[in-house]
């Protein structure tokens, strides 16, 4: 495989960018437009709806040149994009919650076919108890299906990451679909100041499009896409193994590519986001709390207050959740003696948050024992306030001297 080369030299100083006040869903739509997809397929669902409405309006107003397919459901939404991608299209959609569940069959298949489709998940809790409000349960449920999943903290990060996602997905060492996760309600509807990159600068950043060099439905180079593979003997199972191993290699390669793309983004546009794991005031900390997505803003405020109060606490934020950034996280965990992990969803099997569950695996690799515990908050649209984070900080601090509780702490249970 080849490594993508830069199409144009990086300017020494980022160009001046247009400043706007937009909600997260509109920021995502603006990012999509700047990435110039050929095809978007849409089906509305709360809290994603305004995102696809913005996309439709951009196309209707001639501000975006893409074929829009108003499909009859999410299953077909992703299926249409698979067909488009196999014919060479850059493709995009967005969904969440029940829509993602309905989409699961083609969703599972997208990564196997190595199609670089970008899809926002405007995260939503549920499905039952019925909820239309935010929470990471939908995205967490599909974390083992081979998509790259990144979580945004701010509206600006939504806009920038949406563009970067295409470049990561289409990198020849990756060739995997990417979910850009933005928290329902808090990011989707949260209005914020953003800087809008210039189209020509984004074009230079994106480089040439080449999405079906590896697998295509094209009469000019006919091939059978996804013939049956496997069986009990012969070359079937080994063929399958090579496909799967290649997928896993693509996932691991994405960790490097995500870092490279974020670095280039920072150079070209002057905005720097931690690509995999962000450390906040971790140096000199005895213990840390760990966050994901938009909750991180309030968490950082709480850390500042705790530091002011003399507590030696820091913060670790995960941006790239799939693949799980094991090596990067190990570096951060090496700096601390105790850890509290805050999830916005549940892991039913382990009776803890899913991110905590993943982190336990990393802690095992640390080579020394540090106490840790799981916090679950922000379900079904609930706010996680600085107050909640102070409880998290206090409980985590106690781990330095007391045994760690087995049960998770449910932050909003008594709100």
């Amino acid at each position: 495989m080849t490594t993508a080369t830069l199409e144009t030299p990086i300017p020494t100083k980022p160009a001046k960018q247009k400043v706007m006040l937009v909600e997260g869903n509109e920021a995502a739509a603006l990012g999509v437009a700047l990435a110039r997809p050929d095809m978007v397929a849409v089906y509305p669902i709360t809290p994603q709806s305004s995102l696809v409405e913005h996309v439709a309006k951009l196309i209707a107003d001639g501000k975006m040149d893409a074929d829009i397919v108003d499909a009859e459901g999410e299953h077909s939404v992703l299926s249409v994009l698979q067909g488009g991608a196999l014919a060479g299209a850059r493709t995009y959609t967005a969904t969440c919650g029940p829509g993602l569940a309905f989409m699961f069959e083609p969703y599972f298949r997208t990564s196997g076919m190595r199609l670089p489709i970008v899809m926002s998940i405007v995260t939503r809790d549920g499905i039952t108890p019925q909820s239309v409000w935010g929470g990471h349960q939908d995205a967490m449920t599909v974390r083992e299906v081979g998509w790259v999943q990144v979580y945004c903290e701010t509206v600006q990060e939504v806009l920038d990451t949406t563009i970067m996602a295409f470049k990561i997905a289409e990198h020849h060492d990756v060739m995997l679909p990417v979910n850009v996760c933005l928290d329902g309600n808090y990011l989707s509807y949260g209005t914020s100041r953003v800087e809008l990159p210039n189209q020509e600068d984004v074009d230079a950043f994106m480089g040439a499009k080449d999405v079906n060099w590896h697998v295509a439905l094209d009469p000019l180079r006919p091939m059978a896409v996804d013939p049956l593979t496997g069986g009990s003997g012969g070359k079937g199972p080994s063929t399958f193994v090579r496909y799967r191993k290649g997928q896993c290699r693509g996932m691991q390669n994405s960790l490097r590519v995500i870092e490279e793309v974020h670095a280039e983004w920072a150079q070209r546009f002057g905005r720097s986001f931690a690509p995999l794991v962000e450390e906040y005031r971790l140096d000199g900390a005895d213990y840390a709390i760990m966050t994901l997505g938009s909750m991180t803003g309030a968490a950082k405020d709480a850390i500042d207050e705790a530091r002011d109060a003399g507590k030696k606490v820091g913060l670790i934020k995960i941006k790239t959740f799939s693949p799980f950034p094991v090596e990067a996280l190990l570096k951060s965990l090496n700096k601390i003696q105790a850890l509290g992990v805050v999830d916005r969803s549940v892991g039913f099997r382990w009776n803890c948050g899913p991110m905590y569950q993943e982190t336990m695996g990393v802690l095992y690799r640390l080579g020394r024992h540090i106490p840790s515990m799981s916090f679950i908050g922000g379900l079904a649209g609930a706010d996680i306030t600085t107050g909640h984070f102070h409880r998290v900080i206090e409980a985590t601090e106690k781990l330095l001297s007391s045994p760690a509780p087995i049960e998770p702490v449910w932050l909003n249970e008594k709100d």
Partner: protein, 452 residues
């Protein structure tokens, strides 16, 4: 012509219609030797009313033994007409040709002392119009083969369909027609099951081909087509799907694509069930039919009904598609290839404008339980009994029958041809006959309304 030469017109014989009257022989002898001596006819009706009549006639073989054993180069296969020509100037009356033929197609004419054989009267055989019962026909359907024989077969040889299956025939003919600028979507079922998409890195298809999910054929294909349209390339997006994937779990994406008028050609091969996976019921399975999930047993099954096959009527998918006001909708049968070809041409043309839907009834020798040599016969009986109807629809002209059957056979003629209906009670048969009448009336009503 292709590798195997052309197909030619031929004199066909329907033994069921022959009463042994001998008028054909008289006509032949009169035309050929000027007297009505049937012994000198080159067409010989043999057999009896008890055993059935048979035809001894030159078959105009493609690989004629009589020609190979002629020492005098007096017999030649005429590549233009397909007739085996006899040259009297070269013939030495050795009779070796009569030793070569296994069917007495060339024999001694006692009147001349020479051998004589059918020459099809230069394309206007005297015997055919002489038959008072239409037992003889001079068949011209091979024109299809002559037309398409040179077109590239876009499937590899050796697809592993069941013996006697007509789906492979349908696939090969369809792809010959659509040509190489085609992307073929074929969801799980018999079509990929016989190796068209392939196994472990091999493929049976020469155009881009893929397995969609059983559920998303129309949607995935729509994506392919849209992108080629966007970049200005003319590519035909073709689906060949089973009835289960189209009428059941794949129906949503099918309906959605039809409603959006996606420019694709969606062909359903309706074998009335999930035949590839072991003959389970689909919504296209007809009432009363045995399937592996509507078995025949002593107990009661669906809704307290006795377990005597499927207890509901089939979903009429093509009529549902008409209600999407597609660019083109038609039903077809491999027993009526010319009709099918006409519809295929129209469907291909329509798919350049919008959604085209072709529903092909496809008897399944394995799942319906009939002998492997009976596929075309079963397909024909389905039409002759009005169990299925051949019609086409487009928004401008509405619906009309392409092969109306005004004097249908009783539906039992169809039902008795296969094992899946063997258990039917009188009540079940009368239910089916009633549905045939009802369906016919319904479609006729649509055709009438369309005309008005």
């Amino acid at each position: 012509m292709g590798t195997f030469g052309g197909a030619y017109n031929t004199i066909a014989f329907d033994a069921n219609k022959c009463d042994g009257c001998g008028d054909c022989m008289t006509a032949c002898a009169t035309a050929k030797v000027g007297v009505g001596d049937t012994a000198r006819s080159r067409i010989q009706i043999v057999g009896s009313a008890d055993d059935g009549f048979e035809l001894a006639l030159c078959r105009q073989c493609a690989d004629p033994k009589c020609v190979t054993v002629c020492p005098a180069a007096a017999l030649t296969k005429n590549s233009a007409s397909g007739v085996i020509d006899w040259n009297g100037d070269k013939c030495v009356d050795c009779l070796l040709c009569t030793v070569g033929c296994a069917y007495a197609g060339i024999a001694l004419d006692a009147g001349t002392g020479h051998v004589a054989k059918c020459d099809t009267c230069d394309g206007a055989p005297a015997c055919v119009p002489a038959c008072p019962h239409d037992a003889l026909t001079y068949i011209t359907t091979s024109r299809i083969y002559n037309e398409v024989g040179d077109w590239e077969d876009l499937f590899a040889p050796g697809l592993a369909g069941c013996q006697g299956c007509n789906t492979e025939l349908l696939m090969r003919h369809t792809l010959r027609r659509t040509g190489p600028e085609t992307v073929l979507a074929t969801p799980p079922g018999c079509v990929p099951g016989m190796g068209s998409v392939g196994f472990n890195g091999t493929t049976g298809t020469k155009v881009p081909v893929f397995h969609p999910l059983l559920t998303n054929t129309a949607a995935m294909l729509a994506g392919v087509k849209r992108q080629y349209k966007r970049v200005g390339r003319e590519v035909l997006a073709l689906a060949i799907a089973g009835d289960g994937g189209a009428s059941d779990v794949g129906f949503q994406s099918l309906s959605g694509a039809a409603e959006r008028n996606e420019q694709i050609l969606f062909m359903v091969v309706d074998n009335e069930g999930y035949m590839n996976t072991g003959m389970q019921r689909s919504s296209c399975t007809p009432y009363g039919a045995w399937t592996s999930t509507t078995p025949v047993g002593q107990g009661t099954g669906s809704g307290g009904m006795p377990s005597q096959g499927k207890t509901q009527d089939a979903k009429n998918l093509p009529l549902i598609m008409v209600n999407h006001r597609c660019e083109y909708v038609a039903t077809a049968s491999t027993a009526y290839m010319e009709d099918l070809y006409d519809k295929l041409d129209k469907a291909i043309a329509a798919s350049k404008r919008g959604f085209a839907y072709l529903h092909v009834y496809s008897p399944c020798t394995t799942g319906w339980r009939f002998p492997t040599d009976q596929n075309m016969e079963v397909a024909r009986k389905a039409v002759e009994t009005n169990f299925v109807m051949l019609w086409e629809y487009n928004p401008a002209d509405g619906l009309h029958f392409t092969r109306p059957v005004d004097d249908p056979l009783p539906v039992t003629e169809y039902l008795k041809a296969m094992g899946r209906f063997r258990h039917l009670s009188e009540d079940q048969i009368s239910h089916i006959q009633g549905k045939v009448v009802e369906n016919l009336a319904f479609v006729k009503q649509m055709a009438h309304v369309a005309k008005a």
